[in-house]
């Protein structure tokens, strides 16, 4: 089995090396499949609707969150929308910490939907067909990384009313994994102390489990263990600062996952421990 795997990687690496200029042009159908899907079956003039980049990855392969972590890069899409259409930013579901030797990447495995809000123009004529197009670039990695790019197209009719498409459920499931704004009665503060950052979340109730995903690269050491101390009104998380930090961190931004399908955007002002004493 092991030998088979090594041989497979060798073949893959060689194939990658020999045909890279060509491979860069063709989708890597063998390990990652991507399709452009819509939550609704039609576009309604003047309304917002949701498109999704639907990734299906072979076992063991992963793509990256908006902050990729120690290696890799997030997928990027350039839209070619009809006149008057406006596509927003990708809404990133919370990722998982993927550890390999001494690194941590923030990744997605198996299946993920990257949702994008799109605004349809008010002057869109009902009955027309709308061609939504995008050029997607991404990198999919296992022991090796494979860059890929693909042109995606989805044609939808414009109509007065829309109904759920076949992919609707996937959007519903994914929406639960999108980080929500932090509840207004919560508080988030951070204290910088030597090589540590201590993030305190005051939620009004005990948080017994949580994982913090930094939104900005180079603030915390991704691979350093996160030390949690739960208390009756929330949780404290000790993070190790990045070795590459040259300036003090004034703002710690990230996503805090406290339970499956429960994630919040955290934006904490960082105070210096010295000032508190």
């Amino acid at each position: 089995m092991k030998r088979f795997t090594i041989v497979r990687w060798l073949v893959l690496v060689l194939a990658c090396f020999e045909t890279l200029p060509a491979a860069a042009q063709t989708p890597t159908a063998s390990v990652s499949k991507v399709a452009l899907v819509s939550e609704q079956d039609a576009v309604v003039p003047g309304k917002q609707f949701w498109l999704g980049l639907k990734f299906d990855l072979d076992p063991g392969w992963h793509i990256y969150w908006v902050n990729a972590g120690d290696s890799g890069e997030p997928p990027k899409v350039e839209w070619q929308m009809p006149k008057g259409f406006r596509a927003g930013d990708i809404q990133w579901p919370y990722p998982e910490r993927l550890k390999s030797s001494s690194f941590v990447d923030y990744s997605y495995q198996d299946h993920v939907l990257l949702m994008v809000p799109v605004h349809a123009p008010l002057d869109l004529k009902v009955g027309e067909s709308v061609s939504l197009e995008g050029h997607l670039r991404w990198v999919v990695c296992r022991e090796v990384c494979i860059p890929a790019r693909q042109d995606l197209t989805l044609v939808l009719p414009s109509a007065q009313h829309e109904t759920a498409s076949g992919s609707h459920n996937l959007f519903e499931v994914t929406r639960k994994r999108l980080p929500k704004p932090m509840p207004s009665n919560w508080g988030a503060t951070a204290v910088s102390d030597k090589d540590q950052l201590e993030l305190t979340i005051n939620a009004g109730h005990r948080i017994s489990q949580s994982t913090f995903f930094p939104l900005l690269p180079q603030q915390v050491e991704n691979a350093a263990p996160q030390q949690l101390s739960s208390f009756p009104r929330g949780v404290r998380i000790r993070l190790r600062k990045s070795d590459q930090l040259l300036k003090p961190i004034v703002e710690l931004k990230g996503v805090l996952v406290v339970a499956p399908d429960e994630a919040y955007v955290i934006d904490a002002t960082v105070r210096n421990a010295g000032h508190l004493r």
Binding site: V13, L20, S100, S102, E143, P217, Q218, Q244
Partner: protein, 202 residues
């Protein structure tokens, strides 16, 4: 005997600590001895008095390929070694891991790619890689003639695999070398290194 163990323990702790914490800008670059693909031995401290570039490398990584198939890395190697800079390509893939090469394979590659680092250091134990907390291929380090780390990070500001991005990218290594060789401080001393992860032994 006990003392030897203690010493070993201290050395091990220091090694682990340095592996965990890496080196910081403005600190002394840790010394190492490594063997290159042509059988030569290199000790970093022998290059005191010269600028040294460390380039983490993996010929199967598309981010590395971006900079070699475009000729970008070779151009940098030629330009700076001609100006007296010592340029070490470092390969830290462990045996059995993706990107591991034998000396012969590396020599063939250097010839095929027309690459001209001062030497390609074979680091299958990951000793040098861990000493500098090298994360990705490529990951670039610049050390000044006093043996102090002056740059640690990415090769440039376009973290992609696209060769077409090179023309418009700001090359942090060129910038750092231009600045330090003209006696100025490095304006961008760190950046997030981008690329494939270094394939250390598990």
């Amino acid at each position: 005997m006990k003392k030897t163990y203690l010493l070993l323990a201290v050395v091990a702790c220091l090694l682990i600590a340095s592996a965990l914490f890496g080196v910081r800008i403005g600190e002394a670059a840790p010394d190492f001895t490594a063997v290159d693909s042509r059988g030569g031995t290199h000790r970093l401290s022998d290059s005191k008095g010269k600028f040294v570039v460390l380039e983490w490398h993996n010929q199967g990584c598309p981010y590395t390929q971006k900079h070699y198939q475009s000729g970008n890395m070779q151009r940098l190697q030629k330009e700076w070694t001609a100006r007296g800079v010592v340029w070490y390509t470092v390969i830290s893939s462990a045996q059995g891991q993706q990107g591991f090469v034998t000396a012969q394979q590396e020599n063939d590659y250097l010839e095929r790619m027309n690459a001209s680092p001062t030497a390609a250091l074979l680091d299958p134990t990951g000793q040098v890689g861990h000493l500098y907390a090298a994360k990705t291929t490529p990951h670039m380090i610049v050390i000044n003639p006093a043996g102090v780390l002056v740059y640690d990070g990415a090769i440039d500001d376009k973290p992609t695999t696209d060769q077409s991005d090179i023309a418009t990218a700001k090359n942090f290594v060129s910038l750092a070398l231009q600045e330090v060789t003209s006696g100025r401080p490095v304006s961008i001393p760190t950046s997030r290194p981008y690329g494939c992860s270094v394939k250390y032994a598990n």
